[in-house]
């Protein structure tokens, strides 16, 4: 019973963190390249919707996940086009993406899923032999493909950013695009690739939400997770592992507050639902504070002002 409780807690923490972490990783790619991405919420929703719709029609979760990946990437492409090519204000572009995605997914959702409850096939869990038998933490090795993929993505992103040439280019573009430009790197290309890749990842997070966690699509089901992902990203100082840990913190406190409620502790529930945000706030104040964004974050790059007063 006690073991079970812990295992459940761990599993719940993980499930609550996964969509956040996908979104945060997606945001990380975009923001490390210098493109602000407040549209994570809309991208999550897009991923959730397309994965559900594609699975609904094809009956195949793999198709659903791929669709979410593509749709997320497409929204990323739109964001990149707006921010990089047209130099639209990046904050506005993100907010607009949230609005459009919210409206369109609901609209299409009603067209596609009207009437019957959607019955989607489940994403099977893959047990990793031996490891899955470890008490309590064994639950980490009894997850579905998207969770393992996430672990891989976090590791790969870390490796990519700090140990590869394209990763170096990405960081340089986000910090000082003129420098990258004079070194022969295409700022535009790097930003496009980063934002689109980011979109794909966020789309995956949406797919997790719709296919794994809930198994159907509902309107507005991202419910603010995109914004929490942004908070995690900043909290984690735009570092993949830091951000993932920040997501875990949000997931863990959320899971905790739900358990406190479930145990019947006599605290008004509003104080419990605010717990994750409160904890994050306290953690920020308690010294984990300063985080410096990539220097060029939010600034469109224009070559004619290269090297000039940025």
């Amino acid at each position: 019973m006690n073991n079970n409780f812990l295992t459940d807690y761990l599993a719940s923490t993980l499930r609550l963190s996964v969509p956040l972490a996908y979104a945060a990783m997606g945001g990380l790619f975009s923001e490390r390249s210098g493109v602000l991405n407040i549209g994570l919420e809309g991208m999550l929703l897009t991923g959730a919707f397309t994965s559900a719709a594609a699975t609904f029609y094809s009956g195949n979760v793999a198709v659903g996940i791929c669709a979410a990946l593509i749709a997320g990437g497409f929204v990323g492409l739109v964001h990149a086009f707006l921010c990089v090519t047209l130099r639209v204000n990046q904050l506005v572009s993100g907010l607009a993406i949230n609005l459009v995605a919210g409206g369109l997914t609901s609209f299409l959702g009603r067209l596609i899923f009207s009437g019957s409850t959607q019955r989607l096939p489940v994403v099977p869990a893959i047990k990793i032999p031996i490891l899955a038998n470890i008490p309590v933490s064994g639950i980490l090795f009894e997850q579905d493909i998207l969770v393992y993929l996430l672990f891989l993505i976090i590791a790969l992103t870390t490796y990519f950013l700090f140990y590869t040439n394209p990763g170096l280019n990405l960081r340089a573009v986000g910090e000082y695009p003129s420098s990258a430009d004079t070194a022969g790197i295409s700022v535009t290309l790097v930003r496009y690739v980063a934002v689109v890749t980011g979109g794909c990842l966020v789309g995956c997070g949406g797919a997790y939400l719709a296919l794994v966690q809930i198994n159907y699509f509902t309107e507005g089901m991202s419910a603010g997770k995109g914004f929490i992902a942004i908070a995690s990203l900043i909290f984690g100082r735009w570092h993949p592992i830091g951000s993932a840990l920040a997501c875990l913190l949000f997931g863990a406190t959320e899971a905790l507050q739900l358990r406190i409620q479930a145990l019947g502790v006599n605290i008004p529930y509003q104080f419990l639902t605010m717990l994750p945000y409160l904890v994050a706030m306290i953690a920020l104040i308690g010294g984990m504070g300063k985080s410096t964004p990539p220097a060029a974050l939010g600034v469109p790059y224009e070559r004619n002002s290269a090297g000039k007063n940025i």
């Binding site: 707006l82 047209l86 130099r87 639209v88 204000n89 904050l91 506005v92 572009s93 907010l95 607009a96 993406i97 949230n98 609005l99 459009v100 995605a101 919210g102 409206g103 369109l104 609901s106 609209f107 959702g109 009603r110 067209l111 309107e219 603010g224 914004f227 942004i230 908070a231 900043i234 909290f235 008004p268 509003q270 104080f271 639902t273 605010m274 945000y277 409160l278 994050a280 706030m281 920020l284 104040i285 504070g289 300063k290 985080s291 964004p293």
Partner: protein, 342 residues
């Protein structure tokens, strides 16, 4: 030369038209009539007596909050916390409206002041953390939104709840603390005037005052400001507090002018609309007024389109998003177009 005058008007019109065309397709798919819907949208929200009143009613909180966002922006701060500050402002004014007794000419300003101060407190916290501790204000303002919303939810459900109310809201605030209706018979209340006054004040402060100069200097270059003897940190804290204060006034005007009580969902996302408004206005105070009016019309038009044309709310949200997007694009392209034609 002529082009320079025409573009700022033409390009938003093209943008809005494009959004409406895309929207029309969606409305058609949904099985409603786009022409009826759009006729309703425009005639109602801008040209009829009550419709315009509704637009103004929506405009008030948007204008107040976006004024706050703009002010923070001038000092280089991103205030994403308008939402939470609105809730806190609403709380402040409701407390004064509920528990203080005074004649109207004192009660109204007092309640507004309380709204301002409560909002200011909620803006000051991230301001303090940013200025003194270097903690990114985007994340703190974002987190404080959630905390404020939960806190108000608790308060209206427990200590402040009206007895026997089926849903969490407070009792009515005193008559003396209510803002007057300015367009008789409609819902348009004194909060709109308040918003216009606030905008005017901010305009004067930014454009004409030494404080505005100081704020702008800090926003543009903290290092240089610091060397010139400007106290950068107090400026940031002050501006963030004031920014929160304006959002707080938005909450106060909703309580005192529209609902006459504190309720659970004070803001359905005004804080985020305000960010878009502030950015689309590109620092211009007049732009703030026009954009708030436009967003107000769009928001009240959303209800109208549903009511009289049966256009589904989902499409309306999509149209709103597309409009914001296309206007942003138009604004971004404007300098290019201008260059090409001259």
């Amino acid at each position: 030369m002529n082009n320079n005058r025409i573009f700022p008007i033409i390009s938003p019109i093209i943008a809005i038209t494009s959004a409406l065309i895309v929207g029309a397709i969606l409305i058609l798919i949904a099985g409603a009539n786009p022409i009826t819907a759009y006729t309703a949208l425009f005639t109602e929200s801008l040209s009829t007596y009550f419709g315009f009143g509704n637009t103004l009613t929506k405009m008030a909180p948007l204008l107040l909050t976006s004024t706050g966002v703009l002010l923070a922006l001038k000092a280089g701060q991103f205030n994403i916390g308008g939402e939470g500050q609105i809730y806190f402002g609403a709380l402040g004014s409701a407390l004064v409206g509920l528990y203080v007794q005074a004649p109207g000419f004192i009660h109204v300003p007092l309640a507004l002041l309380a709204g301002f101060i409560f909002g200011a407190v909620w803006g000051f916290i991230p301001g303090y953390l940013k200025a003194m501790r270097g903690i990114n204000e985007v994340i703190t303002t974002l987190l404080l939104n959630y905390i404020a919303i939960d806190l108000i939810s608790y308060l209206v459900q427990n200590p402040l709840k009206e007895a026997n109310a089926p849903s969490p809201y407070s009792p009515l605030i005193a008559k003396s603390a209510q803002l007057p209706i300015i367009i008789p018979g409609s819902l348009a209340h004194g909060g709109i005037l308040l918003a216009l006054i606030a905008v005017l004040i901010v305009y004067i402060v930014i454009k004409r005052s030494t404080l505005g100069y100081q704020i702008t200097a800090v926003g543009l270059n903290q290092t240089a400001s610091n060397y010139a003897g400007i106290s950068v940190q107090p400026t940031i804290m002050l501006v963030m507090a004031a920014s929160g204060g304006f959002a707080g006034l938005a909450g106060a005007s909703e309580v005192m002018g529209l609902k006459y009580r504190l309720f659970e969902q004070v803001s359905p996302g005004y804080g985020f609309d305000a960010i878009a408004i502030a950015f689309l206005s590109r620092g211009s105070v007049l732009g703030l007024v026009l954009n708030s009016l436009f967003f107000g019309a769009l928001r009240s038009g959303a209800n109208v389109m549903q009511r009289s044309a049966g256009a589904p709310v989902t499409v309306i949200y999509a149209i709103q998003g597309l409009t914001v997007l296309f206007i942003a694009i138009a604004l971004a392209l404007e300098p290019k177009l201008r260059r090409d034609t001259t």
